[in-house]
């Protein structure tokens, strides 16, 4: 026996594949991408009775024909990787629909074991299944399980190991598709076998069926391998297709689908299933849907649930966020005390701890938000949200499934565009996905919030809540209008039909919630942590180098010396001590020394590369009312929006760079001649809509391409600047400042 048994987990969406996968592998799993596409590739390892098993969770599919990316991925994996066993997870409470895919696995001939999941739900619904008879009729081993509780999974794995040990050849099943199609299949199979056409990869009958179903991928493969044979197969398929179309107004795939369902029915009808209750009755899930998806009640319920999600996220994450802040504060203090003054200390504290700490400080918030979203997702409610929002999103050229990326990115204020961009994976249409991916960064993420809170608190203190609400609404309007513009120009194309199966409502398992939450949070930590570290150090360097000339530094030292010399040694000593209560003279000396420090800091910053860039941009940025110091902060915001406040703090020589102490920065801005209400408004619209932070850009590039990432950076900045200029110029013209 090989070192690992390779097993694939396949089945319909919502059949419980991921629950079983999580149960079997726990944390020993790896999430990646299938090459070239953004469909998750989940692989995990576990062992049973000394046998190591490698299991792959394939995407949920309804068929093995190339109707969607998931179906292609699942089929390609089975054919190319040839796993030793396929565990086909089947929902026992919805047997007929689930066996449709089973039927196709059998036609492909893969070695298979059926995991008949949700036996408990089936029992509750009064459905009893004669397992022996079903096993006998299908000719496939069946193990009843309840993936949520783990019931029956040991037996399932034992059976899997047993099937793998048999090492049998693939045995494709033949199903009749009616006289017309069967005759064509015989003809097609004869040609395929004679010419050995694609037979190394697929069973001949499977290839014949795919030619009849007009499967684009198999036909393209066939054209590539042997154009002549492929053309003759297409001709045979075309003849029967035309005939069926003329006589019955249908295509072969409809007949094939119906015969597959017919095959399943013929098995089920042989006393395999008995229903205790009326089969026509609606289940609890359907009854809930009648209320939850109701035209009037649905949106109200959705509003309450989403509000609850944000309440939960922000109120529960507050304490751990504070703990993390204190932790990074302590870490900074510790390093401050341990290391001697110098560049290394400055880089570690200002570059590494402030930068990375600023981002990692959001982890509890992200964790709680993903936990809330996992509850909505695993309970089945998220699919209903997509269903209800599709009505509005469609107007703007988006899809109902775009709603979650928007909410995750900060649709209700808070959130983060990084997981938001990643959440666009649920969208199937490439153009709708791109439009969503490019517009989610317009939402007010958790990093923009402190900046907005600072500027609103400083300049519009009397209507704080109203302005915050207005800026949230503005973010939505801009994002949706931008999506519409994109869909009418560079991403023009027909909307994708909103056809999806609504999963039944289920009680999520705690284990599943934890795994889902951690999976996503870890991706955030990994991506944010690594990129931010580099950028923070770079920014620190840009704001530090070149340092002031020796001569200029000496001049500042001289100013300090002259000042301290004018006070008695007792006062100087008192001012140098960090005492809480100082004498009036010591207090004055301390303040005067701090003023010199501030001037030195300000001059150092203006002399640095960042300062030079900020100053050189002043000619253009002044159109929107931004001075060189604001420019530096905004450049810093390219790395992470959190950096804006800390950079502004340094740039305005405050010495205080903590978000918590932003009040004093607010006062400084209030007294600054370069700041007023109009400038604040212009700055806020610019911050809200300019280039996404670097981590988001990297994510956009990973999820699409660098071309789109650069497009997002440039177009957003141009739009934001134009908007800010309009706000500033109109505001100034109307004397609103």
């Amino acid at each position: 026996m090989s070192e690992f048994i390779t097993v694939a987990l396949a089945g319909n969406p919502n059949a419980g594949k991921t629950t079983l996968f999580n149960h079997l592998t726990g944390a020993r799993q790896h999430v990646g991408n299938y090459p070239g596409i953004t469909v998750d590739h989940k692989e995990g390892y576990f062992s049973r009775k000394g046998q190591n098993i490698r299991i792959t969770d394939l995407p949920g599919t309804y068929s093995l024909t190339a109707y969607s990316v998931e179906e292609l991925v699942a089929r390609d994996y089975l054919v190319n990787e040839q796993p030793q066993v396929v565990i086909n997870i089947v929902d026992a409470s919805n047997l007929e629909r689930n066996l449709y895919l089973t039927c196709q696995f059998m036609e492909l001939g893969v070695p298979m074991v059926i995991a008949l999941n949700m036996m408990d739900v089936a029992r509750d619904r009064g459905i009893s299944i004669n397992l022996e008879k079903l096993e006998q009729q299908l000719g496939v081993s069946i193990v009843p399980i309840v993936a949520r509780t783990g019931e029956g999974t040991d037996r399932l794995i034992d059976k899997t190991v047993e099937i793998a040990a048999r090492d049998e050849k693939w045995k494709p099943l033949s199903i009749s598709y009616g006289e017309d199609l069967d005759e064509s299949i015989l003809e097609l199979v004869a040609t395929i076998e004679t010419k050995n056409f694609l037979t190394e990869q697929y069973p001949p009958r499977f290839i014949a069926t795919k030619y009849l179903e007009d499967d684009e991928q198999i036909i393209a493969k066939g054209d590539e391998v042997n154009r002549e044979v492929s053309d003759s197969l297409k001709e045979i398929a075309g003849v029967v297709s035309d005939h069926l179309n003329k006589t019955m107004d249908v295509y072969p795939e409809a007949i094939i689908a119906d015969h597959r369902y017919g095959f399943i029915k013929s098995i089920i009808r042989q006393d395999v299933i008995t229903h205790k209750f009326d089969t026509d009755r609606l289940y609890t899930s359907d009854k809930i849907d009648k209320v939850v998806t109701n035209r009037l009640l649905g949106p109200i319920i959705m509003g309450v649930i989403l509000l609850g999600l944000y309440q939960f996220t922000f109120s529960w994450s507050e304490i751990p966020v504070r703990w993390l802040e204190s932790f990074f504060g302590l870490l900074g203090d510790g390093i401050n005390a341990l290391l001697p003054d110098g560049m290394l200390k400055s880089m570690i504290i200002s570059g590494v701890i402030d930068g990375v700490g600023g981002v990692l400080g959001f982890v509890p918030l992200i964790l709680f938000m993903f936990f809330g979203i996992a509850i909505l997702e695993d309970s089945g409610y998220l699919a209903r949200v997509a269903f209800m929002m599709d009505r509005i999103f469609r107007i703007f050229g988006l899809h109902g499934s775009s709603v979650m990326p928007f909410i995750v990115s900060g649709g209700v204020a808070g959130g983060c565009a990084v997981p938001g961009v990643m959440a666009t994976r649920t969208l199937r249409s490439p153009k709708e996905r791109m439009a969503t991916l490019l517009t989610v960064p317009f939402m007010n993420c958790g990093a923009k919030l402190p900046v907005l809170a600072l500027l609103i608190g400083t300049f519009f203190n009397e209507h704080k809540a109203l302005y915050m609400f207005l800026f949230t609404v503005l973010a939505w309007i801009v994002a949706l209008v931008a999506a519409k513009v994109l869909r009418m120009t560079v991403l023009r194309g027909a909307p994708t039909p909103f056809v999806m199966e609504l999963p039944p409502y289920r009680l999520p398992t705690f284990r599943g919630l934890i795994i889902h939450t951690w999976e996503r949070t870890w991706q955030y930590i990994k991506k944010a942590g690594t990129v931010i570290l580099g950028i923070s150090i770079l920014l620190w360097a840009m704001m530090t180098f070149p340092t002031l000339s020796q001569e200029r530094q000496q001049q500042f030292d001289q100013q300090r010396d002259t000042l301290t010399a004018s006070y008695s040694s007792q006062v100087v000593q008192e001012a140098q001590q960090d005492a809480e209560k100082l004498s009036a003279e010591a207090e004055r000396l301390k303040n005067e020394l701090e003023t010199i420090d501030r001037h030195q800091d300000e001059e150092s910053l203006r002399n640095s590369y960042a300062g030079k860039i900020g100053t050189s941009l002043e000619d253009i940025s002044s159109l929107a009312g931004f001075d060189w110091r604001t420019n530096i902060s905004l450049i810093g915001g390219f790395a992470a929006k959190e950096v804006i406040i800390s950079t502004m703090g340094t740039a305005y020589s405050m010495g205080i760079t903590d978000v918590e102490e932003a009040d004093s920065l607010g006062k400084r801005l209030q007294h600054s001649e370069n700041w007023n209400k109009v400038v604040a408004l212009a700055a806020m619209v610019f911050i809200m809509f300019y280039a996404p932070c670097f981590v988001t850009i990297v994510c956009i590039a990973k999820e699409s391409s660098w071309k789109w990432a650069v497009f997002s950076m440039i177009s957003n900045t141009i739009f934001a600047f134009t908007f800010a200029v309009v706000v500033y110029q109109v505001g100034t013209l109307l004397h609103l400042a």
Partner: protein, 105 residues
């Protein structure tokens, strides 16, 4: 001979076609697009229009002529929810416009 035996238990589709669809005289009075049906309840699929890929996708979801379905949430200008072969499926306006249904007998 072998082929005949093979066909023996596989005539669902043709049976459905003969019984319920394609024959306009059989259902023309009651047939309406699913998008126009504003009431919940059980209905039968008569015909599915649209391009080949679309029809195939519907077929794989179990939406085939002759199949019975239950409307859980009727179309309200955008989407509807129907229950087919045990699963609840959402269909947008364009899709439900192309599905023609009739009341069950």
């Amino acid at each position: 001979m072998k082929l005949k035996k093979f066909h023996k238990h596989c005539s669902y589709f043709t049976e459905n076609l003969k019984k319920h669809c394609m024959r306009d005289h059989h259902c023309d009075e009651e047939v309406v697009p699913l998008s126009r049906q504003s009431k919940c309840g059980r209905f039968k699929v008569c015909k599915i229009h649209g391009d080949r890929k679309h029809c195939a996708r519907m077929a794989s979801l179990g939406l085939l002529p002759g199949e019975e379905m239950e409307i859980i949430c009727p179309e309200n200008g955008s989407l509807c929810v129907v229950k087919v072969r045990g699963g609840s499926i959402t269909l947008d306006n364009d899709t439900s416009d192309k599905i023609f249904i009739t009341a069950t007998e």
